[in-house]
């Protein structure tokens, strides 16, 4: 394109520099978001894999209660498909710092001479192996417990001793979530420590890596047969096998969903800002229609005119993208860092892959140009005659029948009637402005509705539990005896003893295989047997019914069990569960929504494979978290004193914190993004109003000639803006309901295996109402001020 045409573009841009600045800002803002989310996602996807795989996680863990011998390790290594094998163990213990209460502590045990090739962690402080009384805490456990290297901690193993150990070092274990999030501390000890803690030093887990020369296998269908083969080779001593999803971090699914959702919102923002630019340019082109006519009259072809305007958009988009890339990458890196903290990852490299920059560039340039194409093509194709006929006598279109009818609605004042008719003259622009506000409103309300749905789900999960504290036992206990001990603790109003047994889906001829991760939490599956008529839990049924007295083989599964363990199972099916090596068959009578636990199956105590209790749940008088924690400490102490082997104690507050810790960052991000989208939409409305005023300059002058005051003109323009805001508000509220429901279902299922409930946050509706009406009034204020300040002479001079 010639320099002359460049010059025209540059001067045209300069003549409307404030509007162009608005366009650049809107595109830059959304491109920043897209760049940030893409950057964060690319870094996280890479780092999550690198971190997790750096520890060379085991493909499967075989449980050998009798102990894993050196020979077993050699036998396992000799099996085809086994790349490596090692004996390990893990013990769920408790830890106490100073006079504080007991907290769950998961000890990962290895031999002092363990080569630490498989399922390894990286030592960050201290020298491994420590002396027998030394413990290496996972790095996130240090702040969680409030200890530093060299500090003493008290460790108690169920059925063992209580020993004061020293924090001898810290490790990074990317396979476990931060301690504060899971309300559990993780630590590494040697077999010597286990012996001192009163437990056998025999390791009972055989970890194997399955794969070939190409590397570890990522296919669960390939891992399982190899693990079964190894189990057979060990001669029937293996009681269970854990095969977690291979090569996948426990939070990979959540992160992918979160990343996708954020990215989708980023693209919505980009699309909106592009529509905004298209609106602005449409207005600009409308204002230049006579220039287009003049250019065509002196020989310009449609393509040449279009080329000039497209170059203008491309230049605007290029500047915006250039401005946005660096902040976007910085923001993305910060987000990746924050998510890394959330996932306990080390973000070792913040380098951004080339494809991210390529997508940002293509999106930042392409989307605005593509979206602007229709109005620009329309404008450039205006014929010379159209352009010359455009004398500004009716530049803002005709009112039309609908506008005329609406303007006659009873109860409308003159200003409102004129505003409605004014808006009806540009139906496409009206639809666009309302559409912009609608999308923003839907995003905003969906974000807040999701936050509320999440809160509700968590609260419901907690509310369904009518107990305050829960203590898990490491060994079988008589139900009545253990419940009585707990009931006797001051502050405890009632207590129930439950059976709680790890189970897996039974397959004939196969050793029990579950999908639990080494942290013993993610992917676990428990069979629970509450006492008859339990009053401590009431789960809402998704299908079927709860347990009834007289049930013989009835089982109720929770939704996590369906998703993680037995997909496709419905009420009426028969399910085979392996309990401690025995296959048991159950008739599924119900599916319960049991948010807050991993996979669980509930059976009546009378039909449970064991009558022994492994868990006590108690209702207390406590009214606040510290009081509940204090009572929990007393309960644990009472159980310890009565020689019951306490494995883990927690309060419902711990559950609440653990659940919130997983999600609130996402919700906050969603709301922040929707606010940005709202800002873009209001910018769009301001632009539309400004264009409308430009087009109707002469009309406003005529109104003033006829006696309209400045205030009346201002009132008319602001009323138009507020009416657009009102229309956008009503449509957004209506659409946000199904969108919130769909989003909650998608997000909940993708990230947690359970749809979030549809929840409409009144605060969201109220806030958006205030934002829209106030925002649309303010967005129109500038244009209104300009309209009222036009002098009649100037206004009538405009052609």
């Amino acid at each position: 394109m010639s320099r002359l045409r460049w010059r025209k573009i540059a001067r045209d841009v300069w003549s409307v520099r404030l509007r162009v600045l608005g366009m650049v800002a809107a595109i830059a803002l959304s491109v920043t978001l897209v760049a940030a989310f893409l950057t964060a996602q690319s870094i996280l996807r890479r780092e999550i894999s690198d971190n997790y795989l750096a520890g060379n996680p085991a493909s499967a863990t075989l449980h050998v209660p009798g102990g894993v011998t050196q020979k077993d390790v050699v036998v396992a290594k000799d099996q085809p498909g086994v790349m490596d094998a090692i004996a390990r163990d893990q013990v769920l213990a408790r830890v106490r710092v100073g006079d504080g209460g007991w907290q769950p502590l998961l000890l990962f045990v290895s031999a002092p001479d363990d080569p630490r090739r498989l399922s390894s962690v990286s030592v960050e402080d201290g020298i491994w192996p420590p002396d027998p009384r030394g413990v290496f805490l996972e790095r996130t456990a240090l702040p969680y417990l409030g200890v530093r290297l060299g500090d003493p901690i008290e460790v108690r193993v169920p059925g063992g001793a209580t020993m004061t150990m020293t924090v001898a070092g810290s490790v990074h274990d990317p396979g476990v979530a931060p301690a504060a999030q899971e309300r559990t501390a993780y630590a590494q000890v040697t077999t010597s420590a286990l012996e001192l803690l009163g437990r056998s030093s025999t390791l009972t887990e055989l970890k194997i890596a399955v794969g070939d020369t190409a590397g570890p296998s990522g296919d669960p269908a390939a891992v399982e047969p190899v693990a079964q083969r190894v189990a057979s080779a060990l001669g029937g001593r293996v009681t269970a096998i854990d095969v977690p999803p291979p090569l996948r971090h426990p939070h990979y699914g959540q992160m992918t969903t979160v990343g996708t959702v954020l990215l989708a919102f980023g693209f919505v923002a980009l699309l909106l800002s592009s529509v905004l630019v298209a609106t602005m340019l449409g207005g600009m082109v409308a204002g230049q229609v006579r220039q287009i006519g003049a250019m065509k009259a002196i020989g310009a072809r449609t393509g040449q005119v279009l080329g000039m305007y497209l170059t203008m958009v491309a230049a605007i988009a290029l500047v915006a993208t250039a401005v946005a890339v660096y902040p976007g990458v910085l923001l993305g890196r910060a987000m990746a860092g924050a998510a890394g903290d959330l996932l306990n990852l080390d973000v070792s490299s913040s380098s951004v892959p080339g494809w991210v920059l390529a997508i940002v560039l293509v999106a930042g340039l392409g989307v605005p140009v593509l979206v602007s194409l229709p109005p620009l093509v329309r404008g450039s194709r205006r014929t010379v005659r159209d352009a010359i006929d455009d004398h500004g006598s009716n530049p803002a279109g005709r009112v039309g029948r609908l506008g005329a009818r609406l303007g006659r609605l009873p109860g409308l004042g003159r200003t409102e009637a004129m505003a409605i008719r004014g808006l009806a003259r540009r139906p496409v622009r009206l639809v666009l402005a309302v559409g912009l506000l609608t999308v923003a409103g839907v995003a905003f309300m969906t974000g807040l509705n999701s936050a509320r749905a999440w809160t509700q789900l968590v609260q419901t999960g907690v509310d369904n539990r009518h107990y305050d504290v829960e203590v898990r036992l490491a060994a079988d206990a008589p139900p009545d005896g253990v419940a009585d001990v707990v009931r006797a603790v001051p502050g405890v109003r009632d207590a129930e003893a439950w059976a709680r047994i790890p189970v897996s889906i039974a397959v004939d001829g196969r050793i029990d295989t579950s999908h639990v991760y080494p942290d013993d939490g993610h992917g676990s599956f428990m069979l629970m047997a509450p006492p008859p008529g339990t009053s401590l839990i009431t789960l809402p049924m998704r299908a079927g019914r709860w347990l009834r007295p007289g049930d013989s083989d009835a089982i109720v599964l929770n939704t996590a069990a369906i998703t993680q363990q037995a997909p496709g199972t419905t009420v009426g099916d028969t399910i085979a569960l392996s309990v401690e090596g025995r296959t048991t068959r159950w008739h599924v009578v119900g599916i319960a929504s049991d948010f807050g636990t991993q996979g669980a199956a509930y059976v009546a105590q009378a039909t449970a494979p064991t009558t022994a209790a492994r868990m006590v749940r108690a209702v207390t008088d406590a009214q606040d978290p510290p009081a509940r924690r204090a009572i929990l400490a007393s309960v644990e102490q009472a159980l310890d004193d009565a020689n019951f082997q306490v494995e883990q104690g927690l309060t419902t507050d711990d559950l609440h914190s653990a659940l919130d810790g997983h999600v609130f960052v996402l919700i906050e991000a969603l709301v922040a993004i929707s606010l940005l989208i709202a800002a873009t939409a209001l910018l769009g409305l301001a632009s539309a109003q400004s264009t409308s005023v430009t087009e109707r300059t002469r009309e406003f002058a005529i109104m003033q000639v006829l006696g309209a005051t400045d205030r009346a003109v201002r009132g008319l323009v602001v009323t138009e803006g507020v009416l657009v805001g009102l229309a956008g508000l009503v449509v957004a509220i209506a659409i946000s309901v199904p969108v919130s429901a769909a989003f909650a279902a998608f997000f909940g299922r993708s990230a947690f295996g359970q749809a979030l409930p549809l929840s409409i946050a009144p605060a969201a509706v109220l806030l958006w109402t205030v934002l829209t009406l106030l925002g649309s009034g303010l967005a129109s204020a500038g244009a209104a001020r300009r309209a009222s300040r036009l002098t009649i002479r100037d206004a009538l001079a405009v052609v």
Partner: protein
């Protein structure tokens, strides 16, 4: 015959009910300055639009500067218009963000008719010709109406077109300034350019070779009944 304008039975109707121009024949020879006059709605602007290809006839043939305008479409029409005719409007239609010289250079740029390095010199020479060379680097808004119309004429001459078409070129100017503009047109016609000028002012006929009067979409019968080729014309010398 690139300087000739020939209209054969050209007409223009809008929908079923309204005919802006009834079948019309008109011949304008090289170097003629013809004014088209008539009341508002008489069809004079429609005729000008048909001659310039701004509008298409619903019937008949129109040949301007050697091309059948009624057959031209799209970029060929644009290119022909840029090279073969110069259009002058009542409201000048100068691009407000370009200087006067740049406005004059623009047709050369769109039609790629002169070397880039020669365009400014040509623009200045044309501005010299219309008497506003000293205003070359001003923006249109800084000039008077008469000066802007001169600049518009210079722009119309940019590609050295054989035919100039002007729509009410003096309609927005005072009488004295208008007379200067008309003298300019007369001079251009004297050089051999064919000029058709639509105007509602009858007294501009003193600058014209011929005056065509339109009434209700038809060329009116002349008072002296000097009909030629079946076309009624009033010749004013």
């Amino acid at each position: 015959m690139i300087h000739r304008v020939q209209v054969r039975g050209a007409c223009k109707s809008y929908g079923a009910g309204f005919t802006a121009l009834h079948p019309t024949d008109l011949d304008i020879g090289p170097g003629e300055l013809v004014t088209v006059v008539g009341r508002s709605g008489s069809g004079k602007t429609t005729l000008l639009h048909l001659l310039s290809g701004i509008d298409r006839p619903t019937g008949g043939e129109i040949t301007v500067a050697g091309e059948r305008v009624d057959l031209l479409r799209g970029s060929r029409l644009a290119s022909w218009r840029g090279r073969s005719i110069g259009l002058v409007f009542q409201f000048f239609q100068l691009l407000p963000t370009l200087t006067v010289a740049e406005n004059v250079m623009l047709p050369m740029d769109f039609c790629a008719t002169y070397k880039t390095s020669d365009r400014r010199a040509r623009a200045l020479s044309l501005l010299e010709r219309v008497g506003i060379a000293d205003q070359a680097d001003k923006l249109p808004q800084a000039m008077s109406g008469g000066e802007q119309q001169r600049a518009a004429i210079a722009r119309a001459l940019a590609n050295d077109p054989p035919v100039l078409l002007a729509d009410e070129p003096t309609g927005n100017l005072d009488r004295s300034t208008g007379d200067h503009v008309l003298e300019l047109f007369a001079g251009l016609a004297a050089e051999g350019r064919t000029i058709v000028m639509v105007t509602h002012e009858h007294d501009v006929s003193r600058f014209a070779n011929r005056q065509v009067t339109l009434a209700d979409g038809r060329i009116a019968q002349p008072r002296d009944a000097g009909a030629t080729l079946g076309v009624a014309e009033t010749v004013v010398r």
